[in-house]
Subunit: 265 residues, 5 copies
């Protein structure tokens, strides 16, 4: 029964939302934004207010059409990914990950989003920023480890995404570069068995918010991800985390159309 | 007087709610989900909003009928248990414990629940996830202790359920496996006197939320449960808990029909 | 002027509320519940919502009549005491202390309370549970101290009540019974000068909520109570408190009729 | 332009509010309450709800008239001071400091305040209680210091008031009286340069709330007050504060009529 | 498409808002307020309530006109800067930085702001105060470092502003002046590479709120700012921070007209 409704909904929503004039979806730079250093990554989590669900479905679909318009318009300059947190995290309903070369561009997107009729139902649950940088410690690692790190993750969809914010203790930053490097090597070795099934991306945050790092993970095997975190908790470097998670954001990777379909229901 | 109203209510609610077409309550896999390793357990606690109680009783009963529909529909794939926290915990009114082989299935259930007319009155109070795993330290325990652990809990209803989330300190994970095993043996020995009256289940959480473990208890003798926790506070391993509870969730095990009856009042 | 209104109000409220049919106020067991070990004590604090005060006074009086009905009905099985926190504590407006042999009975009372038209205006501010037990350390105390502890508190009304929740550190539970006993003797000796003017009752909480103890005090001399707490802060055992208060609940002991009169205004 | 409106407003408000019949403003005991030991001081901070400002000005003035009535009526028994926090503290809009010989009298005032039509717009932001006591350590100070402490503060208005709640560590209370006295002497010596421009009053709180002390300051020179706190942070005794501020309340001393004028706007 | 609307909006808003009679924008003293010691700096952050966005645009523009009036009127005495936090910080939407010689003047501005029709939609997210003072440690620095500190930052717009509140540990204040000076020299040396691209201003807060310092930064190169903070985390003095950020406020510097334009949308 549910799937019948679901198929109809998907059709109705996609037809309506598909009418949006997308000015330019030239996502040419998306690959660069997602792979190069010097890019700002913003994680903006939102809850929907109590009024959202009380609106008529046609009103909601109209407002979601505006969401689609805002996102598509900014895709010229920004790489925007969306995640469904509802049901898996108690902090928010949806998460936007935005990559930009300037945070002003990200701010403009979020202003347009929150200024839209859809956005008026969004309550900000959290905003975190980080910067991608060249690997700090890897150049000094043994060749064997360097080679292992080149293993790329298995192809195929990775439906789960996890965001773990990290704050190091003052003691960590007070250590010599050598000592930190040795501990980061032990840390990195612990991740090797999970390179194939857990994709990982690191953002540097000091000064941009109350964090030092944002770690982002994608996987299809949550059990492997759990084992990875357990392995990381056992290395010496873990003792220098003043904050690890709090909140841990767990959600599923979704296309904009899937998000729209879920929120239209 | 109360019981007369109560009996009438039970009758009225059950008649109305009983009309729900349950597509397939083939709970064949429930036993497997509740006993095997590699299963995800989610604890989702909700409060009812202020509008809920202000609605007409007939409206509330209609909405509770939808709750029943959503739960029954997902029982094909999920093991769903419900607890009444109201009056015993200040964090939430109801708690769902959901076992699934994939967290995506759990997310879909909670999306359907929150998307229903009943669900629009639910405010998420907390969501925690854990994974069932084979016993970590038990294989190394002395035979005498292993034998004692095989004592199963007394049959009969266990009306009280308690959920205690746990976060270990970084020091714990930095210990050798041997030292952790020795402390877990002392911990386990402390639980032996309570095996008959307090049922216990362990979930591993690292990475899935801001916890390392979720411990779940059922008992008909809360005083025994209190004595068990007191005994566990006295063993050395307890010193390695950075968080124990916060919140402790205490409630009563209820059938879906009982929950519906209470919420209809 | 205020007292004239007050006298009229008291009359009007008592007449209206007095019409409630009290099914059975056989409070025969109240003394047992308040003095024996193995009894569960629940402290449930509530705030009134913003809508409460905006209602017409006649509506409020009608709802308070229902409150009286719910309380009287459960007095068959439970010992229920009520405290006015408003003006003295910023956490809540009213506090219920409920003694029961089974927490299920307490839950049923609170469900009925919150389900009543009056209860729909209550927001749960906090719920704590503890268990009364036989004195743990007293049997080992010197005879002189044992004799002093038999001094009962002065008769006469004790208008102030204070509730202080306590969580001990892991170090405390890791100490030998002997060391804990010696410190508890020092602690107890510090209380002797205040036995006459400050009444005290202890509840054991480990596992039932995020506390180890709930300490309850009644006094007519708050200055003596302050001196008692100051004396307790100076003994060695105090260093093993991880939490002491947070919140400290301070209120006045009130009869149900007095509470009703205050809330009707 | 603003001052023209302001003058008119002041006139209109004072005329209307001046019509309140003040039963007895015999503030004979105010001096005693503000200077003697054994008096309870309560700091009750309130925010105005969102509805307050949305009301018509005439409605607001009528409600403020009731505020004046409640305050004047209780001035027979209580010393009531009012402070405007809005704009300077993010915790609340107004602060009442109430001195009484019994906290029950203070509770009755706050019940009447919150029960008035004006009070229905007040949200409690925090309530703290303390007791005035004879100086604890001063009798043992050297004569030179004792003489310096007799310097009274300069006459003239002191428009700024600051309230800093303090909680000492368990280590502090575990120290010998001698060691505490030596540190308090160092603490007191640090305050001498500011005795003329910063007025200070101490309240003892242990057991009455989650504090050990409430320190209250008045000054016309905030820069001197800042220097005083900086000096106090540098003495050894400061290391024994577990909490200092959190919140620090900063506001301006206002007459009841000034508060009414501001809130009427 | 967006820019067309944007240009029209800018025109419409500026015409309407431009009609405000500005009594005296003699910002003669602005330079003094921003450069001299003995000036109070207040950081007041606000969120807009849910009703704001639901109003008609013409209503919002009328209210923003009032905002402009209030700001302009107080610019006689105060230096007022405005920042757009929305999209970059999750704590608030707008931030006012106000410099004054007396905090009473700042309070009057914020009272007038919150009392205006626009201000009724503002929810206070946080208020922090600090005092500008002559450099504490610089006079004792080596001449070479003193010379380097005279480098002024590059001209041109610095669109990003960051506010980091700081609380030192009790240990910091317990150190000798010499030891603190040595550590502050190391701290200052770490900032030299960033003097050109990151502008910095320090406020002293002890006693005025729950902070010791407020550090304010402006930059056009956020990556440089990130590197600066990273460098500061590595010096010894950083170990004496009990709080650094929490919250870190990140926003963009905006003129009053730009803020009005954004909020009008």
């Amino acid at each position: 029964m549910r799937s019948a409704i679901s198929i109809f909904m998907r059709f109705a929503v996609l037809v309506l939302v598909g009418l949006v004039m997308v000015s330019a979806v030239g996502a040419a730079d998306r690959d660069k934004l997602l792979s190069e250093p010097g890019v700002y990554g913003t994680f903006a989590a939102f809850s929907l207010d109590a009024d959202w669900a009380k609106q008529d479905q046609t009103v909601r679909i109209a407002q979601l059409t505006l969401l689609k318009g805002v996102v598509e318009q900014h895709r010229e300059k920004l790489a925007i990914d969306i995640y469904l947190l509802r049901g898996l995290s108690d902090h928010a309903d949806v998460l936007f990950r935005i990559h930009a070369t300037e945070l002003r561009e990200t701010q403009q997107f979020l202003l347009d989003l929150q200024g839209s009729l859809f956005g008026k139902h969004l309550k900000t649950a959290g905003v975190m920023h980080g910067l991608t940088k060249k690997a700090n410690y890897v150049p000094g690692f043994p060749d064997q480890l360097k080679a292992e790190l080149k293993i790329s993750s298995e192809p195929g969809p990775k439906p789960y995404a996890i965001v773990i914010p990290i704050r190091k203790s003052a003691d960590w930053w007070g250590l010599d570069q050598d000592k930190r490097a040795a501990m980061m090597q032990e840390h990195t070795e612990a991740t090797v068995p999970y390179l194939k099934t857990v994709k990982r991306k690191l953002y540097h945050s000091s000064g941009l918010d109350d964090l030092d790092f944002i770690t982002y993970f994608e996987t299809s095997k949550l059990e492997d991800f759990h084992s990875l975190v357990l392995a990381l908790e056992k290395v010496k470097e873990f003792q220098y985390n003043r904050r690890f998670g709090h909140p841990t954001l767990l959600g599923t990777v979704r296309s904009l159309d899937e998000i729209i379909e879920v929120l239209a229901q």
